[in-house]
C-alpha cells in the first residue's frame, strides 16, 4: 500500500467525499473564530488605529496566494514525473483559488494603503511582485482554457508552471533591486525573536489556519468537479463514437 494509490481517481473520489464536509466545516469554524476574535476582541494599534485589523485577511490571503502557486508547481511536477491525472487536475483546480487569494491580498492591501500610506497603489517590490504573480496566474489559466485535449493541456501548463516559477522568482528579486519599498518587512517568521504582538498573533494564526483549510477544501471540491467533468467527457466521447 503506497501513498500513490490515493492518486487513483476512484480512490481519490472515495476518500475525499467524506472528508470534504469536515474540511469546509473546520475552515468555517477557524475563519469565523479568527475573524471575529481579530475584528472585535483585539485592541486597536497605537499608530494604525483600527486599520490594523485588515491583517487578518491580508496576511493569510497573501500567504495562500504564494502557497497555491507552490502547490501547483508540486502537482505539475508529480504529473510530469508520475503521470497521475488527479495531480494535473488538482493543479488546474488550484489556479482559480490562488488567483482569488492574490486578488484579495492586493485589494485589502490597497484599502489599507489608502489611509496609511496615502495611496492605493505604490510600485513597491512586494506589491509589484504580487501583481506579477497575478499575471502569471492569468497566463496559466488562459493556457488551460485554450487547449482542447486534456492531456496536452496538462503537459503544456505543467511546463509553463515550472518555467513560470523560475521567472516569478527572478522577478521577485528584480523588483527588489528596482525600487525601494514602502511595505514593512515580514511580520511572521519562525526564526525571529520579535513578531507581531501576541494579542494580534493568536487570532492571526487561527485566521491563517482557516485560510489554509478553506484552500484545501476548495481545491478538493474543484478537483472532484474536474474528475467528474472528465468522466462526463469520456462518456460523451464513447456515446459519440457509437
Amino acid at each position: 500500500m503506497s501513498l500513490w494509490e490515493y492518486a487513483n481517481p476512484k480512490k481519490f473520489m472515495g476518500w475525499t467525499g467524506p472528508i470534504l464536509p469536515w474540511a469546509f466545516g473546520a475552515a468555517g469554524v477557524c475563519l469565523v473564530t479568527g475573524l471575529i476574535w481579530g475584528f472585535f476582541f483585539t485592541p486597536d494599534d497605537y499608530r494604525q488605529g483600527s486599520t490594523v485589523k485588515i491583517i487578518y485577511l491580508h496576511v493569510p490571503a497573501a500567504l495562500m496566494a504564494i502557497n497555491a502557486w507552490i502547490m501547483m508547481l508540486v502537482a505539475s511536477l508529480i504529473w510530469l514525473i508520475r503521470r497521475h491525472h488527479v495531480s494535473a487536475l488538482a493543479a488546474k483546480a488550484a489556479a482559480p483559488v490562488g488567483i482569488t487569494m492574490t486578488l484579495i491580498a492586493l485589494m485589502t492591501g490597497a484599502i489599507w494603503g489608502q489611509p496609511m500610506w496615502g495611496t492605493y497603489w505604490a510600485w513597491d517590490p512586494r506589491l509589484t511582485s504580487f501583481l506579477i504573480l497575478f499575471l502569471f496566474y492569468l497566463g496559466y489559466m488562459a493556457l488551460w482554457a485554450a487547449i482542447d485535449d486534456p492531456d496536452t493541456a496538462a503537459d503544456l501548463t505543467s511546463v509553463l508552471c515550472m518555467v513560470g516559477s523560475v521567472f516569478a522568482l527572478l522577478s521577485r528579486y528584480a523588483v527588489n533591486f528596482w525600487n525601494q519599498g514602502l511595505h514593512q518587512g515580514a511580520s511572521l517568521s519562525l526564526d525571529k525573536e520579535e513578531n507581531v504582538a501576541d494579542v494580534f498573533f493568536f487570532p492571526l494564526l487561527v485566521a491563517i489556519a482557516g485560510f489554509v483549510l478553506l484552500f484545501f477544501a476548495l481545491v478538493l471540491l474543484r478537483t472532484r468537479t474536474e474528475i467528474r467533468s472528465r468522466r462526463v467527457r469520456a462518456l460523451q466521447l464513447r456515446e459519440g463514437r457509437r
Partner: protein, 218 residues
C-alpha cells in the same frame, strides 16, 4: 543546425518573411510616444530609455508567432523533428535566427531612434549595450512561448499573455542599467544580471522548448 539557421534567415529576409516589420513597428511606437506624453524635452529625455526598451520588447514580441507557426502549418516542423538533429538544437537555432532578424536590428536602430526621444547623451552606449545583452534573452524566452502555443489556433494573443510576464526581469534589469548609466552611477550589477538572464535562458530554455514541441507534435 547551421542549415536550419540559414534557412530561417533566408525565409525571414525574402518577400513575405516579415523582416523589417518589427523594425517599422519599433519606429512607429517611438514616434507615437511624444504624441501621447507631449513634446517637452525634459519629460521625453527622462523616459526615453524606458520607452526604447518597452518598444523593443513589443517589437520582438510581434514576430514571435512566426517562429514555429508557419512550419507547423505546412508540416515542415514534423520533418525537422524527425531529422537527425535534437529538438533542443532546433529551438536554439530558431531563437538565434529570431534574434538575428529582430534583436540585432533593434539594437542597431535604438540609438538612432533615441535622437527622436531626446535620449541623454550619456545613455546611447548603454541603450545599445543593454539591448545587445538583453534581446537574446527576449528571443529565447519568446521561442519557448511560441513552441508552447504552436498547436493553438489563433494563439497569437495567448502568446503575448504568456510571454510578457516572462519578459519582466529582463526589462527591469535592462532599463535599470540604462537609467543608472545615464546618471553616471555604477551600472555593473544590472548589466551582470542582464547577462546572467540571457546566459541562463540560453542554457535552460532550449530544453523546455524541445519538451513542449514534443508534446505539441504528439
Amino acid at each position: 543546425m547551421i542549415a536550419l539557421l540559414l534557412r530561417d534567415l533566408r525565409l525571414a529576409t525574402r518577400a513575405g518573411g516579415g523582416f523589417g516589420l518589427g523594425l517599422v513597428f519599433f519606429l512607429i511606437v517611438v514616434v507615437l510616444v511624444p504624441f501621447g506624453v507631449g513634446p517637452e524635452t525634459e519629460i521625453l529625455s527622462k523616459i526615453a530609455a524606458g520607452i526604447l526598451w518597452v518598444a523593443a520588447l513589443l517589437a520582438a514580441l510581434l514576430s514571435l508567432d512566426r517562429i514555429f507557426a508557419l512550419d507547423f502549418e505546412d508540416g515542415a516542423l514534423t520533418l525537422i523533428a524527425t531529422a537527425p538533429i535534437p529538438l533542443e538544437a532546433v529551438g536554439l537555432a530558431k531563437a538565434i535566427a529570431h534574434w538575428l532578424t529582430t534583436g540585432l536590428a533593434l539594437t542597431v536602430a535604438a540609438p538612432v531612434l533615441g535622437v527622436l526621444l531626446q535620449l541623454p547623451s550619456g545613455a546611447y552606449g548603454f541603450v545599445a549595450l543593454t539591448l545587445l545583452l538583453g534581446t537574446p534573452a527576449l528571443s529565447m524566452i519568446g521561442t519557448f512561448g511560441a513552441a508552447l502555443t504552436v498547436g493553438i489556433r489563433r494563439g497569437g494573443l495567448l502568446l503575448s499573455l504568456l510571454v510578457l510576464p516572462l519578459y519582466i526581469p529582463t526589462l527591469i534589469f535592462g532599463a535599470e542599467a540604462v537609467r543608472r548609466g545615464a546618471q553616471g552611477l555604477d551600472a555593473t550589477t544590472p548589466l551582470l544580471m542582464l547577462g546572467g538572464i540571457t546566459a541562463g535562458a540560453f542554457a535552460m530554455l532550449p530544453f523546455a522548448t524541445a519538451a513542449v514541441l514534443r508534446i505539441n507534435l504528439r
